[in-house]
Symmetry: D2
Subunit: 294 residues, 4 copies
Amino acid sequence: MTLKCDLQYGKGDASYKLTRVGVRNVRKPVVIRREGLGSQLNNTLSCSIDIFVDLPAEQKGSHMSRNVEVLNEVVQESMVNPVTALEDFAADICRRLLVHHEYAQNAEVHISAEYYKPNKTPQGRDTFEIYTLLAGATIVRGGPLRKTIGVRAVGMTACPCAQQTVTEMLEYSGDMPVMSHNQRNVCTLEVEMPEDVGIEAEDLIDLVEASFSTPTFELLKRPDEGQVVINAHRNTKFVEDMVRGVLERFVAKYADLPDDVVVDVKSNSEESIHKHDAYAERYATLGELRMENQ
Amino acid sequence: MTLKCDLQYGKGDASYKLTRVGVRNVRKPVVIRREGLGSQLNNTLSCSIDIFVDLPAEQKGSHMSRNVEVLNEVVQESMVNPVTALEDFAADICRRLLVHHEYAQNAEVHISAEYYKPNKTPQGRDTFEIYTLLAGATIVRGGPLRKTIGVRAVGMTACPCAQQTVTEMLEYSGDMPVMSHNQRNVCTLEVEMPEDVGIEAEDLIDLVEASFSTPTFELLKRPDEGQVVINAHRNTKFVEDMVRGVLERFVAKYADLPDDVVVDVKSNSEESIHKHDAYAERYATLGELRMENQ
Amino acid sequence: MTLKCDLQYGKGDASYKLTRVGVRNVRKPVVIRREGLGSQLNNTLSCSIDIFVDLPAEQKGSHMSRNVEVLNEVVQESMVNPVTALEDFAADICRRLLVHHEYAQNAEVHISAEYYKPNKTPQGRDTFEIYTLLAGATIVRGGPLRKTIGVRAVGMTACPCAQQTVTEMLEYSGDMPVMSHNQRNVCTLEVEMPEDVGIEAEDLIDLVEASFSTPTFELLKRPDEGQVVINAHRNTKFVEDMVRGVLERFVAKYADLPDDVVVDVKSNSEESIHKHDAYAERYATLGELRMENQ
Amino acid sequence: MTLKCDLQYGKGDASYKLTRVGVRNVRKPVVIRREGLGSQLNNTLSCSIDIFVDLPAEQKGSHMSRNVEVLNEVVQESMVNPVTALEDFAADICRRLLVHHEYAQNAEVHISAEYYKPNKTPQGRDTFEIYTLLAGATIVRGGPLRKTIGVRAVGMTACPCAQQTVTEMLEYSGDMPVMSHNQRNVCTLEVEMPEDVGIEAEDLIDLVEASFSTPTFELLKRPDEGQVVINAHRNTKFVEDMVRGVLERFVAKYADLPDDVVVDVKSNSEESIHKHDAYAERYATLGELRMENQ
């Protein structure tokens, strides 16, 4: 029996266009090829994927199952030819969506996955730390594809202002950095770029971690714990400093990238002295950033 | 002792502008004045509030505590003069932010709060149902203020396509609507508008609930439960239909609103036949919507 | 038409007993009567309620809708006679469940609600802080009812060990407490007791807040912020210390409570130097605690 | 420099014993060896791990970093000798904890990880579905080790009662199952057992999936979607039925397991006709279950 519900094709009354229609939170294991220390730990990424296309006014419904069919194709292929970059994987899905949804003018894909990276504590001990990779792509039919790669990392910020206030209150005049409040900070850096640009997600992790008061570590024995605390208090950061630090490092590192690359940096401190969070964000093109700080 | 950490004013090296700096998830009880059945249940809304201003390149830090000072002022005032509309409360905060952050050019406020509304089941039984109110405001110094009011509601969608497929598969030719899959749908409608426009959040709830296959209810005795199920299967909806239904009702109801009102409708079905969700969204000005469907 | 689905009464094949059957996350506004400063802010609590009864082996189904009917009764009554203690409200629901589910031998109720409490910063500034109330009750038919009242509070812990390590590493010999790592700690205290015992939830909040390195505050101007940071570093606490501090204060304050009162204290530090949490818990009767530390 | 903060050993004033002290939500990639279709997709599981030991009254603090050291050891070893069962991995950690925490009398470990399993739709199409594995172990010094293996699966339940009510309301007398409400159900099955017992997690998944009205699938083309809906309506299930179905299948399948095995089954339906959930649970020894239903 061949069954085909053709309700989606119904064209009776024209209605409104829809900006995006699709599926959210589809879970897929994607086989990737990494080199070096983290290779064995990240050979399969468990991805949560959202995919959407637009819908013209005259069509009743989108073909939802085609979204998952496209996903299955690319996931199967990753088992034979492992993926090297999650944003290229997203770009591949995006192009196929326009083939399978012949009525669509736009397609977009968002992927998030947990990722482990080997690291060293200040005293040289090996650790593996966890991060979130954020990848995506958007395309307009007949136009260019834009892809996105990003990372989310957890680190520490120590407050410069409380440190200065305490120094005054305790009338301390030595050269030891005094106590402050410090806390978990979650920083997200996402970069949108033309398809031919290549950025390595691990470089973005390094760049974000260099901008915290200190990165954090799963395993810290005494001297390492002390050193992490000292490092943080010698390198206090507002959330504003954190975002600007990421921007500065990004602009310096990627001098070759074109001006139309878009950077979004978000820093959220889960304040230890408050029950609420402190937050800063910059969303800008690389061209704008270059103009601001020459 | 007068202490003043002036680090935020530091102007040493110019750096990058920041798009938004502020606090997130500040919890505040806001006293509101409602009329009718829901008045006693909503006299104090427990609000989660985000507030941000921008930061110029030459200033090191934003004055974070001023954000909460402004909040405390307006919350104290609400105890004497209860708030009548949460979006006007957001607008009030927004204006005061520009006064207290003299260096800022923009301010924005986002509020969410749980809200109870009396309702009737199909057979006339009284219930109280829960919704989320979403309110906000943005302002540019010297420019106009835009405010936002929105609602999030949970209801049911039953799938038209599975119903048609099952009808064919079972070769049923009667006039009873046959089985389909049905599930929780979470629909969000947000409206951004000029300050002088007034929209009642309860009207938005009604409009969203009318667009589900059926609204849902906390208490359903047998005949009500049966009726809800029958209603849903006589009124099957894709997520696409759900969004368009909200748009149609919105355009029809608010014929007097200006073209520059912005509408964002999102419908997310937590599919019973899948582990992932189905999703549709339209983001458009009222002017665009009026052009599309005349 | 009178419809009655009697499937729940089906007795065909005996099957297994069920430990608990019911509804979860029912949202209800409960009108309460509080005195003093917090009265206007907490006149209606938005409660999330779970209620369960057991099910004998020979009965096919529980009557789910009766659970919500019972809830509606007590919520309606709270509008006329506001509730004075959330645990007594839970106890009332529990007794009615056994009346409406004539086949059940046990009933249990769990309630959580956000709660605002006025507080003073170290320098005397007024704030309102947010907490979670946790209330419940369990009953065995023909046996005693036990009720539970609890609180969840967010505060700060500063680490004693890192402080000592840093002191050694920097060879500091002055009397100023040096830097350490500090972070958000979420502490939960729940007390299960016979029905005739009365405990005031606000007292439990005070007792938990006294056990942090320092409580935290929504609004801190400079000198207050400095003082909070200094207080924390003069009063460093492991999660273990935190739990024992709550136990000591509890045992001291409630000398009149019977030995069969059950205390559960949980302290979770969202570590600033790690991406994971540190945790400690004690679950014991008051009698056991009294024996341990005489 | 050798630094050793010995605060944890402080024995000044005796205080209270603590039930559990440790770390929560440590993220680790664990290399496992699976056979068959799912092998490539699950070669590394991203695990969230909680580990605790108790603390005697006379010891000030637990040695938190030893917990992560133990974890690092076993994770490193898994890279050379992949783990074959997550509960044996948990048991291994548990034993090592008692060695490293010489003062502890108890240790416990809880692990959760996402897991992909190949499946077939009703019409034979291949899919990969996602599940959560739950593993753990507890040990008392000098006593036996108990380990736990469990699964969490998402499927569909269709309501028998609404179906009967609708049949009556519409006065339908044919033999087609009529419409009902149906929804996502999340079912958790956990089994605690002596160390020498072996249970395969994939068997538990099968057993849970057989107890839904129907399992659900990521990809369903028309005839498959129709068949899933028909299957569900021919196999309606209360949450109570769901739990009993799992119990029956478990008791039948594991006739060889000892009476002291403990089974915990939880079924939570995210009701499509309500905003709240329906829930049933049975917690019992296998011996008790065998007595009840002979």
